[in-house]
């Protein structure tokens, strides 16, 4: 009798509902692990704070405060009650610049990462799915090439040709940083592809598209997700490097751009530390936070990495 009643239970619960129950449960477990990881918690708090600043920045810092023509402070003055982080050479408040820069730097970092991860995931998935074929050979060679190419030099060439707008910088960073994701996704796809449930789905008549998107992608997704979080810090650092070299977007103030302006105004020789140091610290904190969260996610989502 017992078996009969449990069979009846199974029938009343639809597979979809079962799947969602399972997902909710594993999400709860993962959140539990994440929350008890000290690094991950600190990282997440920093990111939430940075995200909050980025969202409210247009309401806190009016456009006119960022315009060199309408700035009100005395140029190059050290921190004072009115200007907690001093002013730059136009008399703009460095704190205001920093708050506005949070929005731009996060926007560039996250958008470029989404672009890079999208390209990398598609190429890695297709390459791995058709592993061993000509398609794989070509895509893999392309990935290899982007892995060995000195990204900064390629980025410089592209950025100086395309011109320094925010979206061009984002595109340049995305195009030069997808290869690692593609490599990881391909490896994971190759190992998932050989599992027997894929064989089964194929025998049942699933098309390549269905196999890739409905059967393989869900199993590759954790790798993509953890990798995405790690890629953001690389993208933010890339933007900083390009900005310091004078290839930052001319129409938006990012943290890297503040550093570049400070450097060009001789902040180092003149001792304007309040102008140059804060944006760098902001970059270090946010990149560190993304890395800490990314490593924690990597450990949670790839249980093989968990060491005793």
């Amino acid at each position: 009798m017992a078996t009969a009643s449990s069979a009846a239970d199974v029938v009343t619960v639809s597979p979809r509902r079962l799947a969602w129950q399972r997902r909710r449960r594993s999400l709860a477990t993962n959140w539990h692990i994440f929350r008890h990881n000290k690094q991950a918690t600190v990282g997440l708090m920093i990111l939430l704070l940075a995200g909050l600043v980025a969202v409210i920045s247009p309401f806190v810092v009016p456009e006119s405060d960022l315009d060199p023509a309408t700035a009100t402070g005395t140029p190059n003055s050290p921190p004072s009650p009115g200007y907690p982080l001093g002013t730059d050479n136009f008399g703009r408040s460095v704190l205001d610049l920093l708050i506005a820069g949070t929005r731009v730097s996060l926007l560039v970092g996250i958008t470029a990462t989404i672009g890079a991860v999208f390209i990398g995931a598609v190429i890695g998935l297709v390459s791995g799915f058709y592993g061993g074929t000509k398609i794989d050979l070509v895509l893999n060679a392309l990935t290899d090439w982007f892995l060995v190419i000195p990204w900064l030099v390629l980025a410089i060439a592209m950025a100086s040709i395309l011109g320094p707008t925010l979206w061009n910088i984002i595109a340049v960073i995305a195009v030069t940083s997808w290869a690692t994701t593609a490599r990881l996704v391909r490896a994971q796809t190759l190992s998932v592809r050989s599992l027997s449930y894929i064989e089964r789905a194929r025998v049942l008549g699933a098309s390549d598209w269905t196999l890739m998107t409905r059967h393989i992608l869900p199993n590759v997704w954790p790798v993509i997700f953890a990798n995405t979080v790690l890629t953001v810090s690389i993208a933010i650092l890339s933007e900083t490097t390009l900005a310091i070299l004078g290839l930052g977007s001319a129409d938006a103030i990012s943290w890297g751009r503040i550093i570049e302006e400070a450097f060009n105004a001789g902040a180092m020789t003149n001792g304007y530390w309040w102008w140059m140091i804060p944006p760098g610290i902001a970059i270090v904190l946010v990149c560190l936070a993304f890395s800490m969260c990314g490593h924690a996610l990597d450990e949670i989502l790839n249980p093989k990495l968990r060491r005793g």
Partner: protein, 320 residues
């Protein structure tokens, strides 16, 4: 090493190089406009002058013909002339190459030595105070923009303390031995910036590969034989864990140029990096094109060296 493996690797290097050449050609010629259009953007040219320039660059030829011409010129090290000074680009490159080699050589060597020693110490005593501090330190350095790091060192050691010069390669009037110490003095801050920027990756890679071999049976056997802890580490664990770090080291020497651009720009170190920085400011495309080619070439060569020497160090690789 089998000839077949060697042949495969060399062929791969050539294919990659060919691809680099093609990208280099199309990126600068086809994407936003040809060199003359770029030239016309920065200077006012009459239509006749534009036509004349187009003929000079061979832009009136079919694209494929241009491509072949370009390949031939590159093979003869003809990279065209600088848009600003009119000097041949190749001459500028050769004049700037040694300062970069010196800077990156010293900086990378420092990073490798300190990173490997630190990684061994950290990995061998996993969870110790040194391990925790060095791992956190590496993560922080990894998250630090190297240009900004260089500026910090400048403020502290050149500005406030005045221990080192704030930039450049050498003072103009130093001669003989004095010149050597003078260059060394100028070298300290940029090389230190590079070393700090790269030390983290060497430390973390060395640490994690040592962790991988630490629990292997042969390490237990060495211990069971009664060898001292340091002997086990030096003779049995480290040699088996050093390979990933070795590859990383060879590859980073390939990235010589890429790594030096920002640091050279900050410290006005007159190498290829500073040349690149100046070329960006002046929109000097022939120089950028040549720099891109040389940077890629050195990476390809470093990869080839890593692949080939690796099979000597670990013969199992070849079968894969």
């Amino acid at each position: 090493m089998s000839l077949r493996y060697l042949g495969k690797k060399v062929l791969w290097a050539f294919l990659t190089l060919f691809f680099v050449l093609s990208v280099n050609f199309f990126l600068f010629r086809v994407m936003p406009g040809d060199p003359v259009a770029l030239l016309a953007r920065s200077q006012r040219l009459t239509p006749e002058a534009i036509e004349q320039q187009r003929a000079l660059f061979g832009l009136d030829q079919p694209l494929f013909q241009q491509y072949l011409t370009y390949l031939g010129q590159t093979a003869r090290f003809e990279f065209g002339s600088d848009l600003i000074s009119g000097q041949p680009v190749w001459g500028q490159i050769t004049a700037r190459i040694w300062p970069t080699v010196l800077l990156v050589g010293v900086g990378t060597t420092l990073a490798v030595v300190l990173g490997v020693l630190g990684g061994i110490k950290a990995g061998w005593k996993r969870g110790s105070r040194f391990d925790r501090n060095s791992t956190y330190g590496s993560l922080v350095l990894y998250a630090t923009p190297e240009g900004w790091l260089g500026m910090l060192l400048l403020i502290v050691f050149a500005g406030s303390l005045g221990w080192f010069p704030s930039g450049g390669y050498a003072s103009p009037n130093a001669e003989g031995f004095e010149r050597v110490t003078d260059i060394a003095n100028h070298l300290v801050l940029p090389a230190l910036t590079l070393a700090l920027a790269y030390i983290g990756q060497f430390l973390l890679v060395m640490r994690s590969s040592l962790l991988d071999v630490k629990d292997e049976e042969y390490v237990d056997v060495a211990r069971a034989k009664g060898l001292a802890d340091l002997q086990v580490r030096r003779k049995h664990a480290v040699p088996n864990a050093i390979l990933p770090t070795y590859t990383l080291t060879v590859l980073s020497f390939g990235f010589v140029l890429g790594g030096a651009i920002v640091v050279e720009a900050i410290f006005s170190w007159p190498g290829l990096g500073l040349l690149t920085y100046e070329a960006i400011e002046q929109q000097n495309y022939p120089v950028l094109q040549a720099v891109f080619l040389i940077a890629s070439f050195s990476v390809i060569v470093a990869n080839l060296i890593a692949d080939i020497t690796y099979t000597y160090l670990d013969p199992r690789i070849e079968e894969v």
